[in-house]
């Protein structure tokens, strides 16, 4: 989430060849650490997963049989439906609210208020993943929740009523938004700051109000950032796991067990003792994310120079 604004090319005054070689070498050293970690925690596990997905428990090539068998499991289709619904709610909410809140934040006249609000947005994101979900276990239980009066107002007197199956997609989207959106708002805010002032100025001279400026200037210029956010949020969203798993454990299995594809993969691996099916589902998630990323990257002309 530490996306800095685009880096300007370093000073070009260093003309001597030796210095250039040194700079290149330093670059390699810096990149080497990243490449090593990428290999150890990105490429090798992915490769291992792909290997599992196409072999059976006796390590023989199994073609697509793991994929078809996993898809025929009784938990598979419901999980696909759950994740799709969750993604729909979460991505729409993310795009609308993050862009909206970033614009509002950007328009705040007082600097100090702006800084404070920015900090407040970011706090939930600073809590580590599972810990920030734990907070919600308390929020959603009317017997201990600080929001209990509100929950009762909605007619929910027990934890069981709050987490009934029909509510789960919305609840998980709320939790994910609360834990993840703050960081994106800060990123969008940074992106808004990068829009040249003269463009905004020109718009103002042409008579554009706040709303017009946002719609015609700022949002179009944020397009790439929004695409970037959607790609990463989609990838993270298809991997929904922590929220349903924690709700499941907190509710003693009443809600959230086998809710998402990632949970199903986990259950295949550790409950049904079938790593191959588990890997098949993981590979499916990888492929779906890659395809969606590809679509967004091409459609938003993500890598085109401004």
């Amino acid at each position: 989430m530490n996306l800095a604004a685009p880096v300007r090319p370093a000073g070009t005054r260093a003309t001597r060849a030796l210095r250039r070689v040194r700079a290149v070498r330093a670059g390699h050293v810096f990149v080497a650490g990243y490449v090593m970690l990428l290999a150890a925690f990105g490429i090798v596990p992915t490769a291992y997963g792909i290997y599992f997905a196409f072999t059976n428990s006796a390590n023989y090539f199994a073609g697509l049989s793991n994929f078809t068998a996993a898809a025929r499991d009784f938990r598979y289709l419901p999980a696909v439906g759950h994740v799709a619904l969750y993604l729909l709610i979460w991505l729409v909410a993310l795009v609308l609210f993050v862009t909206g809140l970033a614009l509002v934040l950007h328009q705040l006249p007082a600097r100090r208020t702006g800084r404070l609000v920015r900090f407040l947005y970011y706090i939930p994101g600073a809590l580590a993943g599972a810990a920030s979900v734990m907070v919600w276990l308390f929020m959603l239980d009317p017997t201990v929740s600080p929001a209990a009066p509100f929950l009762r107002l909605l007619g929910y007197g027990t934890f069981g009523q709050v987490i009934e199956p029909g509510h789960l997609a919305i609840l998980f989207a709320m939790i994910a938004f609360w834990t993840g959106a703050g960081g994106w708002i800060v990123v969008m805010y940074g992106a808004l700051n990068n829009i040249p002032l003269d463009v905004i100025e020109a718009a103002r001279i042409d008579g554009a109000g706040g709303w017009q400026t946002a719609r015609r200037i700022q949002i179009p210029m944020l397009r790439k950032w929004i695409a970037y956010m959607v790609i990463l949020a989609f990838a993270a969203g298809t991997q929904l796991f922590v929220e349903p798993q924690l709700i499941s454990e907190a509710s003693l299995g009443v809600a959230g067990r086998d809710y998402s594809l990632n949970q199903l993969s986990y259950d295949f691996a550790f409950q049904n003792n079938n790593v191959n099916y588990a890997a098949a589902i993981s590979v499916e998630l990888l492929v779906v994310s890659l395809v969606v990323a590809a679509v967004f990257v091409t459609r938003s002309r993500f890598f085109d120079a401004d």
């Binding site: 992915t46 490769a47 086998d258 998630l285």
Partner: protein, 465 residues
């Protein structure tokens, strides 16, 4: 997925957009084939590569002295601590985990990972789930105990049937910690004050439940909101939900009269209001029902874990008494259910077998822990007698609980087995949300039937109706 992120983030220069991601995937695929070529993959589970021979009925790892790693749930920590106190020279590493409660599968998950890495297994494990053997034997994790490790004179001291969940083909793979037969807990002074008789049969129980709902609204005769609700009521009713007939075979028939009669009883009392839909372990139950529990069918450990504890109902001394679980009229022999009663497993991978066996026999045997500290009825008969004597001495209960518990210990219906799938987890996700939404259990029995069938099949069980 890191791939996607990195592939995208790694780009700075404007170029046609797709190739980098494609490259990443092809690199991954290439690597995959390399890994495949290297063979190996994950070695299948089992006692692995130890070179020493068979002894005591299994292949043992090379033995050495060292720290004994013991996994317990938080309730069993005092057991490990008591052992440490009695054996100051043994080095003990006590690890607390969730005890696999509610079918969480923690132990199986970890053992599967340790099998892949070839190290890390604990020496002794406590589990609150009685079905561990259904996977742990095949995985080669548990050591047989009656093939030389533990003398039969010790094993024969366990209560009749206590080691059933531990036994496969005549080999005993674990020791039972406690028995958890279901009895009827009740508030004796309140029953007397209101002039009620303790019900002997389920129809009497239902009748009394309806009267309580009318005459003393707010008071409870039971609860049906726990994951182990089917083990309290359906098991006692001889409902054929979990009839394990072979290593990978189960008979499931939950729409038979022995199930529908109990489902309709629960529905009737839930509707009347004297049967709670909350879990006895929820904060809502403790808050709402404190002092409002007239009767509560439940396992032997309810006494210590629900009534006589400040983290539960905290019922004062001299009120709680126990009666045999109600019966259905016309059934030939009395039967009751069972909720857990933990197990102790010995790792076949242990490098400290002598110490581990000593720990195992001590912690289940009769001694300072089981006789006095244990919250539940010990499975080891000599410890049970001492435990009952201690319970009587404490004076907490209204009357002597020993005869009822001793009798019930031998009445657990044997038609409910221990499969790899968790009946508690299935009930929780299939029935509980419907109950919350106001549906009747009767209307959900067929859904329950198919959920059990699907989960059993996913674990490779042959399911017959």
């Amino acid at each position: 997925m890191a791939l996607v992120i990195r592939a995208v983030r790694g780009r700075r220069h404007p170029r046609p957009s797709l190739p980098r991601a494609v490259l990443a995937v092809s690199v991954a695929a290439l690597l995959a084939s390399t890994v495949a070529a290297c063979g190996n993959g994950a070695s299948s589970s089992g006692s692995g590569s130890s070179s020493s021979g068979m002894k005591d009925g299994f292949v043992q790892a090379p033995q050495s002295s060292g720290t004994l790693t013991v996994w317990v749930d938080s309730t069993r920590v005092p057991a490990a601590q008591a052992y440490q106190k009695a054996h100051p020279n043994t080095k003990l590493n006590i690890v607390t985990y969730d005890g696999d409660a509610n079918g969480s599968n923690t132990l199986q998950t970890k053992v599967d990972l340790y099998d892949r890495t070839g190290s890390g297994w604990p020496d002794v494990v406590f589990s609150a789930e009685n079905n561990e053997i259904s996977w742990a034997v095949n995985a080669g994790f548990t050591a047989p105990l009656n093939e030389g490790l533990i003398p039969s004179s010790t094993l024969s001291n366990f209560a009749a049937g206590a080691l059933d969940p531990c036994t496969v083909n005549g080999k005993v793979y674990c020791l039972r910690n406690d028995l958890a037969m279901v009895v009827l807990w009740y508030n004796a002074p309140l029953m007397k004050q209101w002039g009620y008789q303790v019900p002997m049969t389920w129809p009497q129980y239902q009748q009394l439940g309806l009267e309580v709902a009318k005459q003393h609204p707010g008071y409870l005769v039971g609860n049906a909101g726990d994951t182990f609700t089917p083990e309290i009521y359906m098991w006692a009713s001889q409902c054929q939900a979990n009839d394990i007939t072979g290593l990978r075979a189960v008979t499931v028939n939950v729409t038979s009269p022995s199930c529908t009669r109990m489902a309709s009883l629960l529905d009737t009392l839930i509707k009347a209001g004297s049967m709670s839909k909350l879990s006895v372990f929820s904060t809502a139950f403790d808050k709402k029902e404190k002092g409002k529990v007239l009767m509560l069918p439940g396992p032997a450990w309810f006494g210590g874990a629900v009534f006589d504890t400040s983290s539960g109902l905290n019922t004062p001394k001299g009120q709680i008494a126990v009666a045999p679980g109600p019966q259905w009229p016309g059934s030939a022999t009395p039967s009751t259910g069972n909720v857990g009663g933990g197990l102790w497993l010995l790792s076949a991978h242990s490098r400290h077998l002598a110490e581990a066996v000593d720990f195992l026999t001590w912690v289940t045997g009769n001694n300072a822990y089981q006789d006095d500290l244990a919250p539940g009825y010990p499975a080891y008969a000599p410890a049970a007698s001492a435990w009952l004597a201690n319970q009587a001495k404490s004076g907490y209960y209204a009357g002597d609980i020993a005869p009822v518990l001793q009798q019930a210990a031998g009445q657990v219906w044997p038609g409910w087995g221990y499969g790899q799938f968790s009946q508690e987890a299935i009930w929780a996700s299939t029935i509980d949300p419907g109950l919350t939404a106001g549906k009747t259990i009767t209307s959900m029995l067929s859904a329950w039937q198919s959920a059990i069938t699907e989960h059993a099949q996913a674990d490779g069980y042959q399911v017959s109706p």
